[in-house]
Protein backbone atom coordinates (compact mmCIF):
# COMPACT_ATOMS: atom_id res chain seq x y z
CA UNK A 1 0.00 0.00 0.00
CA UNK A 2 2.80 2.33 1.05
CA UNK A 3 4.94 1.29 -1.99
CA UNK A 4 2.05 1.95 -4.40
CA UNK A 5 1.56 5.41 -2.80
CA UNK A 6 5.19 6.36 -3.42
CA UNK A 7 5.07 5.09 -7.00
CA UNK A 8 1.86 7.04 -7.61
CA UNK A 9 3.42 10.24 -6.30
CA UNK A 10 6.56 9.76 -8.43
CA UNK A 11 4.39 9.08 -11.51
CA UNK A 12 2.27 12.10 -10.66
CA UNK A 13 5.38 14.29 -10.69
CA UNK A 14 6.58 12.82 -13.96
CA UNK A 15 3.02 13.19 -15.34
CA UNK A 16 2.87 16.88 -14.42
CA UNK A 17 6.20 17.46 -16.13
CA UNK A 18 5.10 15.52 -19.21
CA UNK A 19 1.74 17.38 -19.31
CA UNK A 20 3.53 20.73 -19.07
CA UNK A 21 5.84 19.74 -21.86
CA UNK A 22 2.89 18.62 -24.00
CA UNK A 23 1.01 21.87 -23.30
CA UNK A 24 4.14 23.80 -24.26
CA UNK A 25 4.45 21.81 -27.51
CA UNK A 26 0.72 22.16 -28.25
CA UNK A 27 0.68 25.96 -27.77
CA UNK A 28 3.86 26.17 -29.88
CA UNK A 29 2.13 24.22 -32.65
CA UNK A 30 -1.07 26.30 -32.51
CA UNK A 31 0.86 29.54 -32.54
CA UNK A 32 3.17 28.19 -35.24
CA UNK A 33 0.15 27.48 -37.49
CA UNK A 34 -1.23 30.96 -36.80
CA UNK A 35 2.16 32.49 -37.63
CA UNK A 36 2.40 30.45 -40.84
CA UNK A 37 -1.09 31.59 -41.84
CA UNK A 38 -0.15 35.24 -41.25
CA UNK A 39 3.13 34.77 -43.13
CA UNK A 40 1.19 33.29 -46.05
CA UNK A 41 -1.11 36.35 -46.07
CA UNK A 42 1.96 38.57 -45.91
CA UNK A 43 3.68 36.75 -48.76
CA UNK A 44 0.60 36.39 -50.96
CA UNK A 45 -1.16 39.69 -50.31
CA UNK A 46 0.60 42.40 -48.32
CA UNK A 47 4.01 42.10 -50.00
CA UNK A 48 2.62 41.98 -53.59
CA UNK A 49 0.24 44.89 -52.86
CA UNK A 50 3.12 46.98 -51.50
CA UNK A 51 5.31 46.03 -54.45
CA UNK A 52 2.65 46.73 -57.10
CA UNK A 53 1.56 50.05 -55.66
CA UNK A 54 5.23 51.05 -55.56
CA UNK A 55 5.54 49.92 -59.21
CA UNK A 56 2.43 51.96 -60.04
CA UNK A 57 3.91 55.02 -58.34
CA UNK A 58 7.16 54.67 -60.31
CA UNK A 59 5.44 54.11 -63.66
CA UNK A 60 3.23 57.14 -62.98
CA UNK A 61 6.36 59.28 -62.52
CA UNK A 62 7.74 57.89 -65.80
CA UNK A 63 4.41 58.72 -67.47
CA UNK A 64 4.65 62.32 -66.22
CA UNK A 65 8.26 62.56 -67.46
CA UNK A 66 7.21 61.28 -70.90
CA UNK A 67 4.34 63.79 -71.09
CA UNK A 68 6.85 66.50 -70.21
CA UNK A 69 9.21 65.28 -72.95
CA UNK A 70 6.34 65.17 -75.44
CA UNK A 71 5.48 68.83 -74.74
CA UNK A 72 8.98 70.23 -74.32
CA UNK A 73 10.72 68.30 -77.10
CA UNK A 74 7.60 68.08 -79.29
CA UNK A 75 8.22 64.35 -79.46
CA UNK A 76 5.13 62.39 -80.53
CA UNK A 77 6.72 59.06 -79.52
CA UNK A 78 7.03 60.30 -75.92
CA UNK A 79 3.24 60.61 -75.91
CA UNK A 80 2.99 56.89 -76.84
CA UNK A 81 5.51 55.99 -74.13
CA UNK A 82 3.48 58.00 -71.62
CA UNK A 83 0.41 56.02 -72.69
CA UNK A 84 2.26 52.74 -72.12
CA UNK A 85 3.42 53.87 -68.68
CA UNK A 86 -0.15 54.90 -67.85
CA UNK A 87 -1.34 51.40 -68.81
CA UNK A 88 1.37 49.88 -66.59
CA UNK A 89 0.25 52.10 -63.71
CA UNK A 90 -3.40 51.11 -64.08
CA UNK A 91 -2.56 47.41 -64.56
CA UNK A 92 -0.37 47.39 -61.42
CA UNK A 93 -3.15 48.97 -59.40
CA UNK A 94 -5.83 46.61 -60.78
CA UNK A 95 -3.59 43.61 -60.07
CA UNK A 96 -3.17 44.86 -56.48
CA UNK A 97 -6.93 45.24 -56.04
CA UNK A 98 -7.52 41.72 -57.40
CA UNK A 99 -5.18 40.01 -54.91
CA UNK A 100 -6.96 37.59 -52.57
CA UNK A 101 -6.99 38.61 -48.94
CA UNK A 102 -6.62 42.36 -49.52
CA UNK A 103 -8.59 44.41 -46.98
CA UNK A 104 -11.87 45.71 -48.44
CA UNK A 105 -11.05 49.32 -47.53
CA UNK A 106 -7.62 49.10 -49.15
CA UNK A 107 -9.10 47.38 -52.21
CA UNK A 108 -11.60 50.22 -52.69
CA UNK A 109 -8.83 52.83 -52.33
CA UNK A 110 -6.69 51.03 -54.95
CA UNK A 111 -9.65 50.71 -57.36
CA UNK A 112 -10.47 54.42 -56.96
CA UNK A 113 -6.84 55.25 -57.64
CA UNK A 114 -6.78 53.07 -60.77
CA UNK A 115 -9.86 54.88 -62.10
CA UNK A 116 -8.35 58.30 -61.33
CA UNK A 117 -5.13 57.26 -63.10
CA UNK A 118 -7.08 56.23 -66.19
CA UNK A 119 -8.82 59.60 -66.31
CA UNK A 120 -5.58 61.55 -65.77
CA UNK A 121 -3.81 59.53 -68.47
CA UNK A 122 -6.64 60.10 -70.97
CA UNK A 123 -6.75 63.83 -70.20
CA UNK A 124 -2.94 63.97 -70.44
CA UNK A 125 -2.94 62.33 -73.85
CA UNK A 126 -5.56 64.77 -75.13
CA UNK A 127 -4.21 67.98 -73.57
CA UNK A 128 -0.49 67.35 -74.00
CA UNK A 129 -1.12 65.98 -77.50
CA UNK A 130 -2.86 69.30 -78.25
CA UNK A 131 0.07 71.25 -76.80
CA UNK A 132 2.50 69.20 -78.87
CA UNK A 133 0.58 69.87 -82.08
CA UNK A 134 0.17 73.58 -81.22
CA UNK A 135 3.99 73.89 -81.23
CA UNK A 136 4.06 76.79 -78.78
CA UNK A 137 0.99 78.60 -80.12
CA UNK A 138 -1.33 77.41 -77.42
CA UNK A 139 -4.86 78.70 -77.18
CA UNK A 140 -5.98 80.09 -73.80
CA UNK A 141 -8.36 77.08 -73.52
CA UNK A 142 -5.47 74.66 -74.01
CA UNK A 143 -3.43 76.52 -71.41
CA UNK A 144 -6.34 76.35 -68.96
CA UNK A 145 -6.68 72.60 -69.59
CA UNK A 146 -2.95 72.22 -69.00
CA UNK A 147 -3.16 74.12 -65.69
CA UNK A 148 -6.10 71.97 -64.56
CA UNK A 149 -4.29 68.83 -65.61
CA UNK A 150 -1.12 69.89 -63.79
CA UNK A 151 -3.07 70.14 -60.54
CA UNK A 152 -4.83 66.79 -61.23
CA UNK A 153 -1.43 65.18 -61.89
CA UNK A 154 -0.10 66.59 -58.63
CA UNK A 155 -3.11 65.26 -56.69
CA UNK A 156 -2.75 61.86 -58.41
CA UNK A 157 0.99 61.74 -57.69
CA UNK A 158 0.46 62.60 -54.01
CA UNK A 159 -2.40 60.08 -53.72
CA UNK A 160 -0.39 57.34 -55.36
CA UNK A 161 2.63 57.98 -53.17
CA UNK A 162 0.40 57.99 -50.09
CA UNK A 163 -1.14 54.67 -51.20
CA UNK A 164 2.32 53.16 -51.79
CA UNK A 165 3.41 54.39 -48.34
CA UNK A 166 0.24 53.00 -46.72
CA UNK A 167 0.66 49.55 -48.27
CA UNK A 168 4.34 49.50 -47.30
CA UNK A 169 3.24 50.49 -43.78
CA UNK A 170 0.68 47.63 -43.75
CA UNK A 171 3.49 45.21 -44.59
CA UNK A 172 5.81 46.69 -41.98
CA UNK A 173 3.09 46.63 -39.29
CA UNK A 174 2.26 42.98 -40.04
CA UNK A 175 5.93 41.97 -39.88
CA UNK A 176 6.33 43.82 -36.58
CA UNK A 177 3.17 42.12 -35.22
CA UNK A 178 4.60 38.74 -36.28
CA UNK A 179 7.87 39.54 -34.52
CA UNK A 180 5.97 40.49 -31.33
CA UNK A 181 3.82 37.36 -31.59
CA UNK A 182 6.90 35.16 -32.01
CA UNK A 183 8.54 36.75 -28.95
CA UNK A 184 5.35 36.27 -26.91
CA UNK A 185 5.15 32.61 -28.07
CA UNK A 186 8.73 31.91 -27.00
CA UNK A 187 8.04 33.55 -23.61
CA UNK A 188 4.87 31.51 -23.11
CA UNK A 189 6.66 28.23 -23.94
CA UNK A 190 9.45 29.01 -21.53
CA UNK A 191 6.99 30.01 -18.78
CA UNK A 192 4.89 26.83 -19.18
CA UNK A 193 8.03 24.69 -19.13
CA UNK A 194 9.47 26.49 -16.09
CA UNK A 195 6.16 26.24 -14.19
CA UNK A 196 5.75 22.51 -14.83
CA UNK A 197 9.39 21.95 -13.87
CA UNK A 198 8.87 23.82 -10.60
CA UNK A 199 5.65 21.91 -9.78
CA UNK A 200 7.31 18.57 -10.61
CA UNK A 201 10.36 19.39 -8.47
CA UNK A 202 8.04 20.40 -5.64
CA UNK A 203 6.08 17.13 -5.82
CA UNK A 204 9.20 14.96 -6.17
CA UNK A 205 10.82 16.72 -3.25
CA UNK A 206 7.67 16.34 -1.13
CA UNK A 207 7.43 12.64 -2.02
CA UNK A 208 11.10 12.04 -1.16
CA UNK A 209 10.74 13.98 2.09
CA UNK A 210 7.55 12.23 3.19
CA UNK A 211 7.96 8.77 1.76
CA UNK A 212 11.71 8.11 1.87
CA UNK A 213 13.65 10.45 4.16
CA UNK A 214 10.87 10.69 6.82
CA UNK A 215 10.46 6.89 7.34
CA UNK A 216 14.23 6.29 7.28
CA UNK A 217 14.71 9.04 9.89
CA UNK A 218 12.00 7.49 12.02
CA UNK A 219 13.68 4.04 11.76
CA UNK A 220 17.04 5.52 12.70
CA UNK A 221 15.43 7.32 15.64
CA UNK A 222 13.74 4.06 16.73
CA UNK A 223 17.02 2.19 16.52
CA UNK A 224 18.75 4.91 18.57
CA UNK A 225 16.01 4.75 21.21
CA UNK A 226 16.27 0.92 21.31
CA UNK A 227 20.05 1.11 21.65
CA UNK A 228 19.65 3.57 24.53
CA UNK A 229 17.12 1.40 26.26
CA UNK A 230 19.28 -1.72 25.78
CA UNK A 231 22.26 0.11 27.23
CA UNK A 232 20.21 1.23 30.24
CA UNK A 233 18.91 -2.30 30.79
CA UNK A 234 22.42 -3.67 30.55
CA UNK A 235 23.67 -1.19 33.18
CA UNK A 236 20.82 -2.05 35.51
CA UNK A 237 21.55 -5.77 35.16
CA UNK A 238 25.23 -5.14 35.87
CA UNK A 239 24.45 -3.20 39.08
CA UNK A 240 22.08 -5.99 40.29
CA UNK A 241 24.79 -8.60 39.74
CA UNK A 242 27.35 -6.54 41.63
CA UNK A 243 25.02 -6.07 44.63
CA UNK A 244 24.53 -9.82 44.84
Amino acid sequence: MKTSGIAAKVWLSIGIFAAGYLISIATGQVQGYATERRLRTTAETLFPVAQRTQDASESFLRMARNFNDAVMLEDESALDRAGQEASTTVQSLRASAALPGIAAERQQAVQRMAKAMEQVAAAGRSTYGGMLRAKGNMTPELQRQSRDLASQMEVAKTGLQALANDTAKDLQNELQALERSSGWQRGLNLTVLALTLLISVFFVNRTIQRSVIGPVARVIHGVEVAVGEASLASEQMASVVLQK
Binding site: F67, N68, V71, M72, Y128, M131, G136, M138, P140, Q143, S146, R147, D148, L149, A150, S151, E154
Partner: protein, 134 residues
Protein backbone atom coordinates in the same frame (compact mmCIF):
# COMPACT_ATOMS: atom_id res chain seq x y z
CA UNK B 1 25.93 80.70 -98.67
CA UNK B 2 22.84 82.90 -98.90
CA UNK B 3 21.51 81.41 -95.67
CA UNK B 4 24.79 82.03 -93.92
CA UNK B 5 24.79 85.64 -95.11
CA UNK B 6 21.19 86.12 -93.98
CA UNK B 7 22.00 84.61 -90.57
CA UNK B 8 25.02 86.92 -90.29
CA UNK B 9 22.94 89.98 -91.23
CA UNK B 10 20.21 89.11 -88.71
CA UNK B 11 22.88 88.63 -86.05
CA UNK B 12 24.53 91.92 -86.84
CA UNK B 13 21.24 93.80 -86.99
CA UNK B 14 20.23 92.25 -83.63
CA UNK B 15 23.46 93.51 -82.12
CA UNK B 16 22.83 97.04 -83.23
CA UNK B 17 19.03 97.08 -82.98
CA UNK B 18 17.49 99.54 -80.58
CA UNK B 19 14.64 98.50 -78.37
CA UNK B 20 11.96 100.74 -76.96
CA UNK B 21 9.97 99.58 -73.98
CA UNK B 22 6.32 100.54 -74.05
CA UNK B 23 3.51 100.07 -71.58
CA UNK B 24 -0.17 100.75 -71.17
CA UNK B 25 -0.76 104.16 -69.53
CA UNK B 26 -2.24 102.34 -66.50
CA UNK B 27 1.31 101.36 -65.52
CA UNK B 28 2.36 104.06 -63.04
CA UNK B 29 6.12 103.57 -63.38
CA UNK B 30 8.10 105.65 -65.87
CA UNK B 31 11.23 103.53 -65.59
CA UNK B 32 11.97 99.84 -64.95
CA UNK B 33 15.18 98.10 -63.98
CA UNK B 34 16.74 95.53 -66.30
CA UNK B 35 16.22 92.90 -63.61
CA UNK B 36 12.51 93.71 -63.33
CA UNK B 37 12.16 93.47 -67.10
CA UNK B 38 13.85 90.06 -67.07
CA UNK B 39 11.59 88.74 -64.32
CA UNK B 40 8.44 90.11 -65.96
CA UNK B 41 9.34 88.59 -69.35
CA UNK B 42 10.26 85.24 -67.71
CA UNK B 43 6.87 85.13 -66.02
CA UNK B 44 8.36 85.05 -62.51
CA UNK B 45 7.06 88.52 -61.60
CA UNK B 46 3.66 90.06 -62.39
CA UNK B 47 4.10 93.46 -60.72
CA UNK B 48 6.65 96.24 -60.95
CA UNK B 49 8.36 97.85 -57.98
CA UNK B 50 5.63 100.53 -57.74
CA UNK B 51 2.95 97.85 -57.44
CA UNK B 52 1.61 98.11 -61.01
CA UNK B 53 0.38 94.77 -62.33
CA UNK B 54 1.93 94.03 -65.70
CA UNK B 55 1.39 91.54 -68.54
CA UNK B 56 4.31 90.94 -70.90
CA UNK B 57 3.75 91.02 -74.66
CA UNK B 58 6.25 89.45 -77.04
CA UNK B 59 7.13 90.03 -80.67
CA UNK B 60 7.15 86.86 -82.75
CA UNK B 61 10.42 87.59 -84.49
CA UNK B 62 12.64 90.36 -85.77
CA UNK B 63 15.81 92.15 -84.87
CA UNK B 64 14.24 94.08 -81.98
CA UNK B 65 12.89 90.82 -80.56
CA UNK B 66 16.31 89.15 -80.75
CA UNK B 67 18.00 92.21 -79.27
CA UNK B 68 15.48 92.47 -76.43
CA UNK B 69 15.84 88.81 -75.49
CA UNK B 70 19.62 88.97 -75.67
CA UNK B 71 19.93 92.23 -73.73
CA UNK B 72 17.26 91.89 -71.06
CA UNK B 73 16.08 88.29 -70.83
CA UNK B 74 19.31 86.38 -71.44
CA UNK B 75 17.57 83.63 -73.41
CA UNK B 76 17.19 82.82 -77.07
CA UNK B 77 13.70 82.73 -78.63
CA UNK B 78 13.43 78.89 -78.56
CA UNK B 79 14.73 78.80 -74.97
CA UNK B 80 12.17 81.40 -73.89
CA UNK B 81 9.35 79.50 -75.61
CA UNK B 82 10.47 76.30 -73.88
CA UNK B 83 10.60 78.16 -70.58
CA UNK B 84 6.98 79.25 -71.00
CA UNK B 85 5.93 75.80 -72.23
CA UNK B 86 7.43 74.42 -69.03
CA UNK B 87 5.46 76.95 -66.95
CA UNK B 88 2.24 76.01 -68.76
CA UNK B 89 2.98 72.27 -68.37
CA UNK B 90 3.48 72.60 -64.63
CA UNK B 91 0.47 74.90 -64.27
CA UNK B 92 2.67 77.69 -62.91
CA UNK B 93 2.10 80.21 -65.69
CA UNK B 94 0.75 80.88 -69.15
CA UNK B 95 2.23 81.76 -72.52
CA UNK B 96 2.48 85.52 -73.06
CA UNK B 97 0.71 86.95 -76.07
CA UNK B 98 2.91 87.48 -79.11
CA UNK B 99 2.39 89.56 -82.22
CA UNK B 100 3.97 89.65 -85.64
CA UNK B 101 4.35 93.42 -86.02
CA UNK B 102 5.11 96.47 -83.88
CA UNK B 103 1.77 97.97 -84.86
CA UNK B 104 -0.08 94.96 -83.44
CA UNK B 105 1.97 95.21 -80.24
CA UNK B 106 1.16 98.91 -79.90
CA UNK B 107 -2.54 98.28 -80.50
CA UNK B 108 -2.66 95.50 -77.89
CA UNK B 109 -0.61 97.40 -75.29
CA UNK B 110 -2.74 100.51 -75.79
CA UNK B 111 -5.99 98.67 -75.08
CA UNK B 112 -4.79 96.22 -72.41
CA UNK B 113 -4.40 97.41 -68.85
CA UNK B 114 -0.92 96.60 -67.48
CA UNK B 115 0.47 95.40 -70.83
CA UNK B 116 4.17 95.91 -71.36
CA UNK B 117 6.06 95.24 -74.60
CA UNK B 118 8.97 96.30 -76.73
CA UNK B 119 9.31 97.82 -80.19
CA UNK B 120 12.06 98.47 -82.65
CA UNK B 121 11.33 102.22 -82.55
CA UNK B 122 9.20 104.68 -80.67
CA UNK B 123 5.60 104.42 -81.87
CA UNK B 124 4.07 107.14 -83.95
CA UNK B 125 0.57 106.37 -82.69
CA UNK B 126 -0.43 107.31 -79.15
CA UNK B 127 -2.09 105.23 -76.48
CA UNK B 128 1.10 103.79 -74.98
CA UNK B 129 3.76 105.26 -72.72
CA UNK B 130 7.49 104.82 -73.07
CA UNK B 131 9.44 103.33 -70.18
CA UNK B 132 13.13 103.95 -69.66
CA UNK B 133 15.37 101.16 -68.41
CA UNK B 134 17.29 102.04 -65.28
Amino acid sequence: MKNLLAFFLVGVSACFAEVVIVANPSVKATAVSADELKQVFLGSKATLGDGSAVEPVLAQSGAAHEAFLKTYVGKSDPALRNHFKSLVFTGKGSMPKSFATDAEIVAFVAKTKGAIGYLAAAPSAGGVKLLTVK
